[in-house]
């Protein structure tokens, strides 16, 4: 039986690469999409060589709305699974003062990812099958001074995925929300992250694979985060506003 292809939106990221390898290892053909597809060539060869699956590379810019439909039309076939790992953290200091920087973070974490998944959702619904995977963040569960611009955009994305799942729940189309806590990637390279709470990109990929293979709608990467965020959400605002988290 041939397996359906997986489309990776944001394939140059560490998490995107890891997810591509994880699904390829299970025999899924891979469509890699990123802004500079020529930079994906090395990954294409690597994934094809290691896992013996078809791999193709495609130019995709999450913020170029006009390009979304031609991009989807240009894929070798409509994928069976689409994973969106597009995101941009930026520097909170800068995001707080420079609205151009803030806008780019908001658009990159919410507008772009939501829009491309919406288009895919409609195509999947029309076809009557497919799985959408959105990699959001626990940062979206409560706004904190240290990264609320990024967090608020992720909150929007998380809410969007939840709504989309609700809408599609009577169709065969699945929507999976992945909520990593800290992940050791390029984006977090200069941050001091506590090791017990920090996942490797491979763990995120494994969590995504297990969510896909199982039936969960929302998965935290490192389960401890579900507990941590439950506590953080439960803190009353008058107290929370004075915390430094």
């Amino acid at each position: 039986m041939t397996k359906p292809p997986i489309l990776i939106l944001g394939a140059r990221s560490d998490i995107g690469r890891a997810i591509a390898h994880r699904f390829a290892a299970e025999g899924h053909p891979v469509q890699l999409a990123a802004r500079a597809p020529e930079a994906l060539e090395a990954d294409r060869a690597d994934i094809a060589l290691r896992h013996g699956v078809e791999v193709s590379c495609h130019a995709f810019d999450a913020l170029d709305h006009a390009g979304h439909e031609p991009f989807l039309d240009g894929l070798p076939e409509l994928p069976g699974i689409a994973a969106c790992v597009v995101g941009l953290m930026g520097e909170q200091e800068e995001n707080a003062r420079d609205m151009d920087a803030a806008r780019l973070v908001m658009r990159s974490n919410y507008e772009g990812p939501a829009e491309i998944l919406a288009r895919l959702a409609n195509r999947f619904e029309a076809r009557g099958s497919g799985t959408l995977i959105g990699v959001s963040s626990v940062a979206g569960e409560r706004g904190r001074a240290s990264n609320y611009v990024y967090g608020s955009a992720k909150a929007g994305f998380t809410a969007f995925l939840s709504g989309l799942r609700n809408r599609l729940s009577r169709t065969p189309v699945r929507v999976i929300t992945v909520l990593p806590g800290f992940v050791a990637t390029r984006m977090t390279e200069n941050m001091d992250l506590p090791a017990p709470l920090t996942a490797a990109p491979l763990e995120v990929a494994e969590a995504v694979w297990r969510a896909h293979a199982g039936a969960r709608d929302v998965v935290y990467v490192r389960r401890i985060w579900a507990l941590i965020m439950a506590v953080i959400r439960a803190i009353p605002e008058p107290v929370f506003k004075k915390t430094r988290l």
């Binding site: 090395a42 060869a45 060589l49 290691r50 200069n190 001091d192």
Partner: protein, 444 residues
Amino acid sequence: MTRARPLAGWGRHPVRDCTLAAPETEAEAAALVAAGPVIARGNGRAYGDSALGVPATLSTRRMNRMRAFDPATGVLEAEAGVLLADIIDTFLPRGWFPAVTPGTKFVTLGGMIAADVHGKNHHRDGAMGETVLWLDLLRPDGRVVRCGPGQERALFEWTVGGMGLTGVILRAAIRLRPVETGWIRQVTRPARDLSRAIALFEENAEATYSVAWIDCLATGAAQGRSLVMLGEHARRDQLPDDRVARPFRTRARRRLSVPFDLPGWLLNRYSARAFNAAYWNAGLRGAGVRLVDWDSYFYPLDSILGWNRVYGRRGFAQFQCVLPLDAAETGLQRLLNEIARAGQGAFLGVLKRMGAEARRFSFPMPGYTLALDFPATPGLPGLLARMDDIVQEHGGRFYLAKDSHLTAETLRRTDPRSAAFARMRSETGAAGRFVSAQSERLSL
């Protein structure tokens, strides 16, 4: 700018503050070198400070793609950060195995070349460098030079075994060896003392693989008692019937891990002695021919993730030397005397016959190599210094991938090639661009 953080080798000692940047492309790596000095680091399995760049260390973990494989010749082209474990996972099911492998599969291709690692087949097949067709090296001036046995040969011979001190190895082509199965036919031969162990190695020079576990704590007539283990890749027709259909399918090994630092006192002379005695007795019972899966045979410790934590927070030091053939037996005896007298628990002692010397600065020479580890205790520096003297008196030298304690003077005296290596580094501009804590300590 990346912040400096504490970084150590596999022995967890010494610890230095290093920035660790992981470039993904050649251009990013070149920019780091231009901002230099740096040292390349693979998966951090060198025991000491070989891969600690103070202040800057260049991690190859993002340069980890396989590029091409030729199933007709078994030649694999890959980036330096590819793990040996991934190479085996990918190619063993297709009938290929690394032609040379060290005792752990959690090393990178670049690291294996930089240390010119050797395996249980060194006496016959040579070290890692023998399997390299070419490598691309990022030079001090930012150029990338392809070198190999047939092109830029001098640079190649300095680089293989050059501990990353000639440049950053970006990618390489290596030859894999064809195998019919994922199994090894292992023959265990007990040797009651050191002379017998050496005789067994010499008698079995034709064996593809040979290595001995040596009880460094046994004294008197039993000094140097060893279990000599010989191995051959099993052919398909040597597998039991139920395995022939799936010759590369070996049972997944159970993974244990050491999730936290064990207390340092756990490993002492009594527990080590008891362990060694138990291992010896188990070896006697298991002597003879056995079929062993590749993972257990080549990488016995890899199944215990984080085994370096058994030594506790203080870490440990590895000692590995090679003694030339004519002085090996007397030199080894003196080393064993010293170890037994100190009573420092050597958990693992490994003895192996080495083959020819190749390349300009790499470790192997014809003779016997002894590798052991010691917990980092207050008495350790004295013991190591005495052992260093013995190695020097017998014309031996040290394996830099394991070293964390040598002095520049001892290195100069034991390995006259190091002066030429340092001269080459300063003449080519590598000395100012590629610097590790080890190269500074050893004045390379």
